[in-house]
Symmetry: C2
Amino acid sequence: LEPRSHRNTQQRRVILEELRGLPSHPTASDLHQRVRSRLPKISLSTVYRNLQLLAEMGTIRKLEMGGSEARFDGDLDHHCHVRCVRCGRLDDYREVPHHVVHSLTGGRVAGPDGYDILGYQLEFSGICPECREQRSDGPIAGEV
Amino acid sequence: LEPRSHRNTQQRRVILEELRGLPSHPTASDLHQRVRSRLPKISLSTVYRNLQLLAEMGTIRKLEMGGSEARFDGDLDHHCHVRCVRCGRLDDYREVPHHVVHSLTGGRVAGPDGYDILGYQLEFSGICPECREQRSDGPIAGEV
DNA sequence: ATTGATGCAAAAGCTTTGCAGTTCA
DNA sequence: TGAACTGCAAAGCTTTTGCATCAAT
């Protein structure tokens, strides 16, 4: 792993600015649309390449849990998420009880047979307020 | 959500048997290869369709966290997983400290603004024993 | 000047779907 | 019988890659 040198291109700068300006967790495609309002000619591959690079550099976070499209988070504070099982909406979940998060982060978790544990991803699933109002029957998928 | 009737086809039966016979968490494609040794003509779409249905019925579990391909688990006991950030290997992680799991399952977690929380998925990431022997430098991606 | 980064288009990989024929109930 | 299911092929979607050109250092 050679320490590559990176150029601070206009595209990369704008992508990062837009991501950081959002409270939500956009997909690459969402971000592409937003960035295009400032750089009309930017391509989707450039967005993908930069998000990938920024995630590898540890500048942003890539959220791959659940759902088909990856989502990106410009906020590095380790916080949890909730995903609606009906509409796929993804929100921050910062008020997870302290002892829950603490038991994962503090008090280092020992891994199973020979694994070195680096971290964890915790995602809650549920029904978001909008979806709950629309229908009263149970969730679609048997996902936990 | 009408209660559909389901037929106990040979394909569905074999897929489920093979999945349950595995300690690992195969992808649809992995399973297709295995099942083909018993039903040489079964198609990949049939495997996908059945895994999807079985997951919706709650008979098996679909693991979509991390990585691009979904994986399936025939074991419904709620247990955690560890994924190697280098090779993608996915293992069970049943020895997660009691208080960690308990703080998530027992003592029902209240959701943020109006969400009804149905469950959670907790996945650890780390370096598996094989990968650790091969290289001594850090992880590739900045994934937590 | 170098060489990383871009835009475009094409390819790749996983998953879903349309359809005609088949099979379980 | 008839609805659920299958196999096949084609399409769909997200993501990656090859390549000629552009631009940051």
